[in-house]
Amino acid sequence: MADTEFFADADALARAIPDGAKLAVFKDCGVPMETARALVRRKARGLHLVTVPTGGMIADLLIAARCVDSIETAGVSLGEFGPARAFARAVKSGQIEIRDTTCPAIYSGLQAGEKGIPFMPMRGLIGSDILKARTDYALIGNPFAQNDPIVAVPAIRPDIALIHVALADRSGNLWVGRQSEQKIMAHAAHRTFATAEKIVDDNLLENEQLAAAGLSSLYVSAIAPAPGGAWPLDMPGHYGTDRRHMKDYARVSGNDDAFTAYLAEHVLKKPAAAE
């Protein structure tokens, strides 16, 4: 179990993420946007995204920048800012492989991965075209009842859980706040790479109040400081959504020329962190 490695910034951290890696990213409150931009800057290719459980700008951006080969998701959208057009276009053209599912199936798969069990039973899905398309899911019987079919969702074990957190400490522990799903991701993934708003000297797990939402360094392979690392998305307690920027992004999504200009302005040259 290697100790947690500390990187200078998101770019250095992104260089340690191999092409072709299966990456889990959380839906909101701690989306590792700066790491995503760094992946675009380093021209990452062949990534497999698992959105936990849905995706937004991070998935759309990585797809538009051609970093992604496949995506497992319960849905990708820019929410109130509109559809994720680059995602939709890439699915239609076959540029990426789509593995549609429903939110709790992503959680169930990760929780199976977290427990080291091969699958998790889950209600629902039966009779949907999603289940028909997911030939990697199985329909099994409930051993405690007659004629009670239930879906077996196979375990998901991402190569890397990619997260952005408010606090990390020098021992490699993280504070994930309300986003307890980030713990599930870290447990299920083989490695966790985190950017943090702030890296503190004091051990986070020694603080009774913070420890409850702490993630032990046992799970954390890499940390880099990234103030404003979720920008233009929100980071509770630090900054809100940059709504003007999101509206701009929604306009360029799926439009080649506009996206190229967007990349040049906001991604390829490292933007100043928003506060």
């Binding site: 849905t54 849905g75 929410g79 109130e80 939110c103 199936a105 999603i130 986003q179």
Partner: protein
């Protein structure tokens, strides 16, 4: 209350009318009208309301594992779903149009529908646009089915459908919608012309009841104030708060 009832307020009132017996109502992302209806029901019945994306502690739910597990535990009585397409068997399509996976039109995806539609006892379908484009004979892709075969565990399912034109109720045994009421200013003919699926119709169709002055007062007062937290844009547009 000088201003007349607006279409959105009528839909809010109509949806709230279907929520009388729900003790805990959950509301998904991007659902300001169902969200407002849930809050109106709450003002009347004291129901608990959870709104994904709200940061108000009493409405707060993160739409994460807890929400889906709570539905599995039977702790959510009512929820709302929509669809790019909804058909006469209450199947919903949130995935896209054309042959899967390289569809002609690709939408965002099923989100939690393929699970919550099975688990929440009273699911109310809401779709503002009432047209043959949205209400189709058969959805191109079943993101979540309206009815299930015998033997499939399904404590939940569709209860009704509210659109800009009417309220329909769903009969789970028959697997069909029945027209319940038509909103003031609209006709049965208009509903038929704009619905792509076959539905049952009583001999005399009621008119959807307009919210009374008290209900409008609640909508424009405490509901408008509360809905501004998860849906600031909607609250600004609708209620200028």
């Amino acid at each position: 209350m000088s201003e007349p009832c607006r279409p959105e307020e009528l839909m809010i009132s109509a949806i709230a009318g279907l929520l009388d017996d729900a003790a805990h109502i959950a509301v998904g992302v991007l659902s300001p009208i169902p969200g407002s209806a849930a809050l109106l029901a709450r003002a009347r019945t004291g129901a608990r309301v959870s709104i994904i994306g709200s940061t108000v502690p009493e409405f707060r739910t993160d739409g994460g594992v807890d929400l889906f597990d709570a539905a599995g535990q039977g702790r959510i009585d009512a929820f709302f779903l929509s669809g790019g397409q909804i058909d006469g068997a209450a199947n919903i399509n949130l995935t896209g149009i054309g042959d899967y996976p390289g569809m002609d039109v690709r939408w965002s995806g099923a989100f939690g529908s393929a699970y919550l539609y099975f688990q929440v006892p009273k699911v109310i379908l809401f779709r503002d646009e009432h047209s043959r484009r949205t209400l189709v004979d058969k959805v191109d892709f079943v993101s979540a089915p309206g009815v299930s075969e015998k033997g499939v565990y399904r404590p939940g399912g569709p209860h009704g459908l509210v659109t800009a034109l009417c309220v329909m109720l769903f009969d789970r045994k028959a697997g069909r919608f029945t027209l319940q009421s038509i909103h003031p200013g609209h006709s049965l003919e208009e509903v038929r012309d704009n619905t792509g699926f076959d539905f049952d119709c009583p001999e005399h169709v009621a008119q959807t009841r307009m919210p009374d002055a008290e209900a409008l007062g609640v909508i424009r007062g405490e509901v408008a104030a509360a809905i501004a937290n998860p849906y600031p844009g909607f609250a600004r547009r609708m209620f200028a708060v």
